[in-house]
């Protein structure tokens, strides 16, 4: 009897100890299970193998080479000083680290420079979605007076006078010449080729252990759950290709409303990708937040009514400090391996 009681006592004590340990540390098996991606996660967030491309401008090495050369050539601007890469700098996450872009004559523009990463997967280009394709978008900044300030009528003879470009164009688009069409198609092809690389998050989706910290994995759960970031930032590119007014306190820009005058679009901007987001500070269309912490705090507050408008998905989140840190760790796990780019030798006259 005495022995029995002692054994029972011992069993009880052991049980209490084990329960306490599992509360404190979690059981190894349950943690291993919950730290794995679900089949739905894998289906929804795994990077696609293919880059979408239009039938009339399929990606070829020659077209990428032409586009890259044009992209890095400052002679595409009226001043011969600004190239596409001046703002879309590959060393800065294909952006410029400025709150808003700096254009012709060092003029400060109203909106920040969006990354060109994964624009191949976007249904609309530019912050306000004014262009449906990369081909249509490419000419916009070149001709915009505040940006590169170069008319296509002046640009074509300028490129025709550079011998090296004649062969680059002919290799890419045989017998089509140097035209508005081939210039924009070339630039679009290069931009289309800049896609995100494997990040810790992708390796985690593929079943590699130890690549995401427990905090980042927990952050992914907060991202999908309590914070409801997936209302807009969903899918492998973390964008719904949609437009939202997220209630930025300093916003005075009508955004998408200038393209489609529908009330909900007043002050609304395109949902940007979150791939490589840790590389593209400052944030938001007006660059008003310097850090991811500031961004998370904005969403936690729920945004402010702006221009009589606030996206209905925006609401106070009441995130704990720990949940905010976990979200940031998750966002950092979306940084892919560095994209290796060889800066082209530009053809001389």
């Amino acid at each position: 009897m005495r022995n029995y009681l002692s054994q029972a006592k011992l069993n009880k004590s052991l049980s209490i100890l084990l329960i306490s340990m599992s509360i404190l540390f979690g059981t190894p098996s349950s943690w291993a299970e919950t730290s794995k991606p679900t089949p739905e996660d894998i289906k929804k967030y795994l990077r696609p193998a293919e880059i979408p491309q239009p039938a009339n401008n399929m990606i070829t090495p020659e077209r990428v080479e032409l586009g890259k050369t044009l992209f890095f050539d400052p002679r595409l601007s009226g001043s011969n000083f600004i190239s596409c890469a001046t703002c879309h700098n590959p060393a800065l996450g294909w952006s410029d680290a400025q709150p808003t872009a700096i254009g012709h004559g060092m003029g400060i523009l109203a909106r920040s420079t969006p990354t060109i990463l994964n624009t191949a997967y976007q249904r609309f280009q530019a912050w306000d979605g004014r262009a449906r394709t990369l081909e249509k978008q490419a000419l916009g900044p070149i001709e915009a007076g505040g940006e590169m300030a170069q008319s296509i009528e002046h640009l074509i003879p300028e490129l025709e006078a550079i011998v090296g470009y004649q062969s680059l164009f002919n290799n890419a688009y045989p017998d089509e010449g140097i035209t508005k069409d081939t210039i924009t198609k070339g630039i679009a092809t290069f931009e289309r080729s800049i896609v995100s690389t494997d990040a810790p998050f992708d390796r985690w989706l593929k079943g590699v252990n130890g690549v995401m910290s427990p905090s980042a994995i927990q952050g992914f759960k907060v991202f999908k759950g309590k914070a409801n970031c997936i209302a807009c930032h969903d899918g492998f590119n973390f964008s719904d290709n949609g437009f939202h007014n997220i209630g930025l306190p300093d916003n005075k820009d009508e955004g998408r409303y200038s393209i489609k005058p529908i009330k909900v679009l007043k002050g609304a901007f395109k949902t940007p990708t979150l791939r490589d987001v840790a590389l593209t500070s400052p944030y938001m269309h007006n660059g008003q937040y310097k850090t991811l912490e500031e961004v998370i705090n904005h969403y936690d507050r729920g945004g402010e009514m702006n221009m009589g408008n606030l996206d209905p998905n925006m609401k106070k989140l009441n995130l704990s400090q720990k949940e905010k840190s976990q979200l940031i760790d998750f966002l950092k796990s979306l940084t892919g391996d560095p994209i290796k780019i060889v800066i082209p030798q530009l053809p001389v006259k």
């Binding site: 609309f124 209302a231 290709n241 949609g242 529908i262 909900v264 996206d311």
Partner: protein
């Protein structure tokens, strides 16, 4: 007498036409599902209705949609509404109406009203 008969016939004819037109006004439900317009379980980008028919736009996604049209035929903005709710539009005149979601602009549908 003759006059009275004619009036009666006209009255019956009018009632028949009215009843027929009321009876023929159909109602359709177009769902917003997975950021697409869906009718009878299939993604729909174009379909034909008759003048006077009504379409119920029902949100089946776990986020807001905002259906609108800026067509010459008919302009409307249904505003933003969440999952499970629907809003309805009756198309009185024949023609073509382009329907979009303001928040998710890849959602596009053309309605041919005959």
């Amino acid at each position: 007498m003759m006059m009275r008969i004619d009036m009666k016939h006209i009255g019956v004819a009018l009632a028949t036409v009215l009843t027929a037109s009321i009876a023929s006004a159909a109602e359709y439900t177009v769902e917003q599902s997975n950021k697409s317009f869906v009718k009878d379980g299939q993604k729909v980008e174009q379909f034909t209705i008759q003048a006077g028919d009504t379409i119920h736009f029902k949100n089946q996604d776990p986020f807001f949609h905002n259906i609108f049209s800026l067509s010459e035929l008919k302009t409307f903005d249904l505003g933003s509404y969440p999952a499970g709710e629907f809003k309805s539009v009756t198309f009185e005149k024949p023609g073509k109406a382009e329907i979009e979601c303001a928040i998710h602009p890849e959602m596009y549908m053309e309605v041919d009203i005959q």
